[in-house]
Structures are given as C-alpha cells and as structure tokens.
Symmetry: C2
Amino acid sequence: MYNYTIYCILGSFLITSSFELEQHAARKANLNRSLWPLKSSDSLKYSLKFQYTYSTAYFTLPVDHFGFANTDTYQMRYLYNMDYWDKNGGTILFYCGNEGDIEDFAINTGFMWDISKQMKAMVVFAEHRYYGKSLPYGDKSFKDAAHLGYLTAEQALADYAVFLTSFKATTVGAANSPVVAFGGSYGGMLAAWMRAKYPQIIIGALAASAPVLQFEGVTPCEAYNEIATKTFARYGSNCVENVRRSWEAMTDLYNSGASGQAYLKKAFNLCGDVKTADDLADLKGWLTGAWGNIVMVEYPYPADFLQHLPAWPVKGVCDNLQQPYWDSPSTLVTQISLAAQAFFNYSNSFSGSCFNTTSEPDTLGADQGWGFQACSEMIMPMCADNKNDMFEVSAWDLDSYVKECAKTYGIVPKPNWIMTNFLGVNVTGATNIIFSNGLLDPWHGGGVLRSYPEQNITAIIIPNGAHHLDLRGHNAADPVDVIAARDMEIGIITQWIADYQREH
Amino acid sequence: MYNYTIYCILGSFLITSSFELEQHAARKANLNRSLWPLKSSDSLKYSLKFQYTYSTAYFTLPVDHFGFANTDTYQMRYLYNMDYWDKNGGTILFYCGNEGDIEDFAINTGFMWDISKQMKAMVVFAEHRYYGKSLPYGDKSFKDAAHLGYLTAEQALADYAVFLTSFKATTVGAANSPVVAFGGSYGGMLAAWMRAKYPQIIIGALAASAPVLQFEGVTPCEAYNEIATKTFARYGSNCVENVRRSWEAMTDLYNSGASGQAYLKKAFNLCGDVKTADDLADLKGWLTGAWGNIVMVEYPYPADFLQHLPAWPVKGVCDNLQQPYWDSPSTLVTQISLAAQAFFNYSNSFSGSCFNTTSEPDTLGADQGWGFQACSEMIMPMCADNKNDMFEVSAWDLDSYVKECAKTYGIVPKPNWIMTNFLGVNVTGATNIIFSNGLLDPWHGGGVLRSYPEQNITAIIIPNGAHHLDLRGHNAADPVDVIAARDMEIGIITQWIADYQREH
C-alpha cells in the first residue's frame, strides 16, 4: 500500500500538461483521492474556441456573510450576456461558479448558451471566491488560515444570493425575473445547495454530476474507483487486468534495483529518477491520476483540452492494453506507458521533453483553493482495494487525513459539516432540483440517482455520459441519451419558469 | 419629534424593575423602536414557579461554523427532560433558544412540557450563543466586534444543527427520532428559519409570534405602533386619545419651566430630574416602552413576571384613562402616571423608591447581545405618526440608524441580509411550518398571516392572544381561541411525526 493523490477534473475539465498540481505535502501525508482541481493556466486556452461573448463586471461583497468580526469586502467577478434576454422579466440562467476561473466554465457550459435563445434568457456566470480573479485578499489570499478561512461553500452561496438580489434590483426588467441555477461537479453541488438554502432566490437548479452524497458515512469510499474501473472495462477485461497488475509490476522493477529503476524512468519518459519509495509513489500517483481522470472526460467526441483527447479517450488508452501482458513486469510497464501516452501525449500534443510526476504547489493557483476546501469541509472519502477496482490498494483513514489537513492549514477540518449543513442523506428537504449523472463518470457514485416526484426532484441518468456531458454544448456526436437528458432538462426548467410566472 | 427607544419583551417576557436596559447611546442616536431584549435578572426569578425539572449539560461548538479563520470553540448550554420520552425513536421537542437565559424559556414554554407526555417526547432547550451561560468568550464576549461578531442568527442555527446531529447520534434510541422545532418571538423566527435551512434535521417548526417579515422594505414601519394602539383601543377611545395627547402635554409642562419640570418629576415618581431635553426624551422613552410592551403581555390571566401583572393588564392601564383629561396637561400627566403605575407598580410590587428612566448599559447582559443583533442584521424598522397610532411622532431613518450602529459597534450593519438569507417575502421555499400570531400582539404586523397549503405552511390566528400565548402552559383562563390554536398545532405536529415515521 502506498500513498497517492489523484487529480480530479471536477468541473473545470482542464488538465495541466505537467500535472503540476499535486500537493506534495498532501500526498506524502497519506491523503487519498480528493477533489484536487486543476489549475487554470493561460497556456491551456490557446486552443479553446471562444464561441461566446460576454461582458465582465465586478460586485462588492462582504468577505464574511455570517458574522461581523471581519468587515472586509472583496470584488467578485461575473460574466453576463443579454443577447437573447427578454427585458420584460425574462429568465436568468445563472451558473454557480466552482473551483476555477469562471471564464473556463462560461466557455465550457454550452448548454446554457444553447438554451438562452429559445428561453429568451440572459446568462450570468458568477466566479467562486478564491478562484480566477475573485481573490478576497489578492496575492495574500492563500497565505494562511486567517486569509483562506473564508473559502467555504456557504460563503460562496451567500455571495451568489446577495449578488443576485442586488443584480435583479438594479438591472432594468430583471426585478421579477426567475433565476435558474446551473452547475457542474462541485458547481452542481453548489447549484443544488443554492436551491436548498435560497429557494426564494432561485426557482430551481440543474445540478449536473454533483456528488452531494460523496461524504463521510454516506457513500462508500470504494465507489469512485469501482466505477472508474467499470468504465475501463468497456474496452475489455484485459485492459482492467493490466492496469490492476501494473502496480505490482512497477514495484517489482523498482525492487529489482538500479536497472529496473532506470527502466521505469525511461519507459515513462520521466524527467526525474525513480530511486526512492517517494519517487515510485509519485509515479504511481501520476498514473492513478490519469486513470481516475480520463473516465471523467470519456466524451463521445474529440475534446480540445490540453492533450487534444480523441473521442472516447479511454478506448485510446485501452487499445494499448488488449493482451495479457502481466507475465513480464517490463512488458507490462511498457504497455502501461503506451497507454499513458494515449492520455498524456495524444497526437503528440505534449510539448515538454519529459514528464514531471511531482511539482511543488504553486503560490497562487486554483489548486491551492481546492486543496484547502478538500481539507476543510469538502472531505470526500476515497479508497481502493485492487480487487473490485484496478487501482493499487489504498485505505481511507479519516483520522490521519484530518490530522494532516489540520497540520497543513492550521485549521480544524469539519468532515461531517457538509452533510449536517446541506441536504443531508435524505435530499427531500429541497424542491425543484435536477440531478443529472453520467454513468461513465465515477462521481456518480456520490450522486443522487433517484427521483422524488413530490419534491420535483428529478434524477436523470445518462448511460453514455461522462462528467456533466449534458452541460456541454450541442455536438453532432452526442449520444441519444444526452440529447434526451437535455430535452428533459429543458422541459422541467420550462415548467419551473411557467409555475413561477403564474404565481408572480 | 424626539428620539426614543422601546423595551421589547421579545420572547423572554422579563422586564427589569428599573428598566435598566436602555442603551443610552443608542437612544441618543435616534434609534427608533427596536427589539431590545430585557435583561434576565436573578431578582426576577424569585416568584417564578419552577414547574418543570430538567438536566443541564453543555456541548462544544465552533465559534464560527462558516469559515476556518477562527478555530475557537465554546460551550453551549442545553436543558433536557426525558420523563415521557419513548426510547424507541420517540419524538424530540426542541426549543430554539432566543435572546435570553434558556432557563427562562424552559419555564415559560409550558406548551412543550404539556404535550411531551401525550407525545411521549423528550424536551430539549438549547441556549442561544451570547446569552445566559453560553458565552463564547466569557466576560469578554461583549468586548468588541472581534468577540461579538459571531453573534448571528445563522451561527445560532448552525449551533442547533450540529448539536442536534450529534445529540441524536449519541443518545440511545434517538438516532432516528424526528425533531420538531419550537420557538417564540425571535425564537420563533429561528424555528421557522431552522426548518427552512435544515429541513433534513427538523421535520417541522412551530414559529409562534415570529415577525419574520418585520424587515426593511417589507412590513411598514407603522405596523407595530398601530397594532399596539388597537389593543389599547379595546378599552375605549379615551384611553388611546389620552395617551396620544400625553406627549404634547409633557412637552408643554417641560416648556413651562421649573415648576412644570418639577411636576413631571413628582408625578411620575422619578429618581432623576426632568431638566433637559434628554431628560424629557428619557421619560417619554420610558413610557413608550411601557405602552409598547404591555400589549405583548396582554394575557388573560395574572402573569407573575416582575410587576405581578394582572389578567388583561392593558385594562388596568386604561382604567385610569377613561375620561378625556387632555384639557389640562397636568391632569393628563397625573392620569398617565397612574396608568403607568398600573404597569410598573401593580399591587405595589415595585420595590424601589423611585423610577429610573435611564441607565447605562450593563457590562454582561442579554441587552448587550440583543443590542448588537438589532444593530447588525436584525434591523426592524419602527415608526409612529401620532395619528394612526397613539405614540409620539417618530420617523424611521434607516441611514442614520445604520450609521449609528456602525459607530457604536464598529461593524457594517446588513439591513437587507435577513430577507436575502432566510425565507424572504415569499415564504413558500420552506415547508412544514406553523406561524401562529396573536392579534393583540403588535409583532403580528411582521408575521406570516396566510397559509400556504401546498407547502404545509399554516397560519394560525389567535384573536385574543398576546405575544406567543399559545406557547405558554395550559391555564384555566385560556380563551377558547388559544385552546383551539394549540389543538390545531398538536394535530399538525402529530401529522408531521406520522409522515416522518412512515418514511423512516
């Protein structure tokens, strides 16, 4: 058993080429898979097509909504487009920004743009505090707990509530506009919680791929890795079995001494050596991150993020793992390396000369924000057993996780707070929420998969969908199930709006 | 127009004999009628019959639930009684403590005790942070904004949510117990908001006399004083007219010079002189407080708080004001003084030799807590016009109120936050709430008076009820409408419990 950290693409879809985001300290501390976000990097945007135009503005908000000890304020960035908006009380489609630069969400949430015309709606994207340009304390925002301590989901939701109240009051024609909240991944959690906590401000929420149940004592820690394994298994049992056995193969090579260690370095084209247990753990963590993430972006069409991933990228990985290679550790490692290339260097998109499996935390990035959130209140248990999943054995140890988080950030983590404060296990306290989940996406293990008709809570399952595929813009290669999901979402949202307008 | 402050008995029912609670600074600052609580004084309890027995315990909670900059914890006091509790998942009747010592609420919320037997329920009373013995920073709790800043309704509700979650998990037989929240006045607001924000933790709320709409831009500032005047008018139009004209009479006497000023002092048996405009304002504020408060305790039976008020105490006041006395300022003032005695010194219960109309803020009392709350987020507009009401003209000036609050406490008041954060004008975002209101109680002006059957939100009007009469224990003198109200409340709560048990 070793320690690893996974890089999860929760919402932002963005993967940095060098996977710089791993927090070394956290990894060393036996922190298991967490929702590390990926740093938004300007270099990533070169290939993104800005299909949408929007205005950018800032809104002044208190740093602390729930107390009066801190009277500081900060500027929250938001984007908006009113091209199709009906100024006679038209609908506001509101994106609950999550852990990243809000522009990334604006350009990757095509569904909102697509429906804005038919709904005569304006679109508004609010940036989550401590991400992008919405830094409460500028370059000191991540300095210490005194500055970081206001980075919580509750404060972010209060930001949105106060902002929306003022925005509606000050925007001509918007005073009585219904607001529908949208969000994917952590943003989807925020959208659902927004409806739960501020039903008087938003009329309903589309919470896409929102693992609101991925918390202590609710969702088994195995869920994520088992689902990821199933998504791999679509391309054959050998693919899974090769990955499952690769961890031991790497250990064998490492244990065989200098030649085996050199082999590992060369096979994976690593910049650094594999000469210590930590080096080996870094390598495994790097691969674990790859396998754990690629299933999230198992989209049916080429996606232009970073490595120019092809349609169904997991297939590209598994194409290299179709035979049983496990008789020979070196052969298996070579094939695993080829599989990794299909992710890290598809069509030679990787511009570096070698891969880094580690990096120091950057001083002002999205990863720092999520690192803190994952250590304070967004603690999502993850584990692997190498039997029901293909990952190396990794136990979930809440106590040591919390202990290390406390040490790293100088805070008191609250592992039970999210389930206490928000929807809880029984989500029926809220109404008017769509929970959509793609079955290829490992996060659906912590999602709401059943409907509660009395509360107008509708679960939509997208069998061929990866991480919030439904929130992406229309694509000719969309499978029928995501088209149907979006149609259903449009129908439900239209009904919410009609209900609202009848009552107002 | 002069400045006055009223002493409101919001929930605690307790009035100190010397009315020590006025915050001189606030009064001077043109703060109009606010929800000043009354300090809980040990001297008040001498005559209270402790009809109920309970155990006392403490629970450790974070000072800040919504952030991580402050890692302090504190001890919240709570009281409980399990005499009638069904240990097989019986119901928990939970009182959301408001601005005062929780023991006062425990002994003055007889309804919960009365129904605990038939419901086989346990009763639990949680003390609101910064009141009673639940002081987060001990005797430094009221020192400054850095210490006081965590005194908010949101933090108190989070206290209750975290406490209940743990309490249920650690109390044998309680893991799946339904919890029903109760509260009167501000405590009723908390109960309603508790259901709105934590529906997964409480199954429903009885919010008695809860002015959840008494906020900026929602309820007209005139409401309270107009209703108080109507309650006086039950005992004749001369009663109202005498009070209405008394303010000018007092001014006339004051303006007439030394003899008139001496007359005022003697007539009201004041300890201090009436030689300055401030003295006169103090006197008027003292009387305004009396008239504004007595309608809240217009109970149908003698109540044993402080002055041993008789049944229907407003009648006792108005008995002195049945004739038109306004032709002579001195005669009118004499009668007003007699009327005031009926409140301040009913059956010679007042033990002092003279009355103080002012006092300095005490260093560690409930008034300090509520003074801060009324200045930070619980800003409730009040005004009077001396036409539709009997009070002296007093305008509501939000800007100067907020300015003075900011100056007094070194904070940034948030007059719109409560309506943004909680139910809002349209309370239909929540379900399972009973809003009960007595029509004699001026606070019903800011209450929810209509039902929303689809949300199972039921408004119960109690025509002969004063401030949360329904929460008080059974009394032989109860009017039929409060008996009916309680029966209806029992029926609704029983249904909530049945619904919960069917689903769990």
